[in-house]
Symmetry: C2
Subunit: 211 residues, 2 copies
């Protein structure tokens, strides 16, 4: 098993944290996305979309999409459960996981991609050719991330974790989103979001957060 | 069980097709999104994000996110399997389902939302306040949808379905994406995409496609 990885990008980190929670290790190949190492002929022959993370199994089968790779490991190594244990909890965790992506991670990625000078002609991730950045989209993304912070803070006022009483993949997506938003996308968490900060300190203290 | 639905929007249709494949029926409440019926105080008290589809179970539990609701039904009514049967097929179908969303449905939605006059101040879906449309994003979305059509055609040249040898949720997402893109978002399928057309005729002929 070989994992094509990238240290500073949020999607590869989501998978690394997930694997660390389950104690799964594997060989890693580090690719630098700003340098375009995910768009070489060699890597596109493995994943034509040019996206990371990408996992290659021992028989050569290629899996992409971070959440789909998480699903693979969840099925093979169910404990600790990070994607639910019955129909309802599986659906609830998937819904909140997707909310963290669509309301938080995607706008943060839009804010970053459309303002980082190195991506001025790489406005979309992966192998989509030359796409001009859209500065208005960076501004819209930052505003969305601010709403995301506020909404998540309100949710965490009454919930220990992003979905119910236990740590799940939804927390992992939220953690990687916040850390990416506040560093790469330069959107600070507003003052006074005490519940968000309480939760962030708690999940960041898990050994998996260093993965 | 009560399903908050919307006839012409692609996400509610994905769920209706999925349920039809499994023979699941339930009470439906139709909401008109352009008229803002998803943003009333009454509906936001059920789903604060204002998104459709939203399912309310008999005990009052609320589930949102179309794919998460599909997961709920897949777990409760496994046959016919639409989300895979083992670790690898579950992961592969989830990866392709997400690819259909991110490479096709989301750009089609961007193309529509940022060009439809009624959404000039509703540039983002659901309950996100007044957000100005970005015309450049409509153009970018259309270009992405064209790449999506080409890539899917190439894939279907060598595969009967979007993921392997059987119909799955990935086909449902692709079908709803194409029909939404070619009608609401007004992006025509380019001439000569014979494999895409072969597949589209085949999946459109399934009784579930009328759902």
């Amino acid at each position: 098993m070989k994992l094509y990885d990238s240290k500073y990008a949020p999607n590869p980190r989501r998978l690394r944290v997930f694997m660390a929670e389950k104690g799964i290790e594997c060989e890693k190949v580090e690719l630098n996305i700003p340098k375009g190492e995910n768009l070489t002929e060699e890597f596109l022959s493995i994943n034509p979309r040019g996206l990371l993370p990408t996992l290659v199994l021992d028989d050569g089968t290629v899996l992409d999409e971070s959440v789909a790779i998480c699903r693979y490991f969840e099925e093979l190594h169910p404990e600790p459960r990070l994607m639910g244990s019955d129909a309802l909890s599986k659906a609830q965790i998937e819904a909140r996981q997707r909310q963290m992506e669509f309301d938080g991670l995607f706008p943060a990625a839009e804010a970053f991609r459309n303002s980082y000078p190195g991506f001025a002609k790489r406005g979309l991730s992966g192998n989509q050719g030359e796409v001009e950045a859209i500065p208005e989209l960076a501004a819209r993304g930052k505003a969305s991330v601010n709403r995301f912070f506020e909404n998540l803070n309100n949710h965490l006022a009454e919930n220990q974790y992003v979905c119910g009483d236990s740590f799940s993949i939804a927390d992992i997506t939220a953690l990687c989103t916040i850390d990416f938003a506040t560093t790469a996308a330069r959107v600070a968490v507003p003052d006074g979001l005490d519940h968000l900060n309480r939760w962030h300190i708690e999940v960041s203290a898990r050994p998996s957060a260093a993965a």
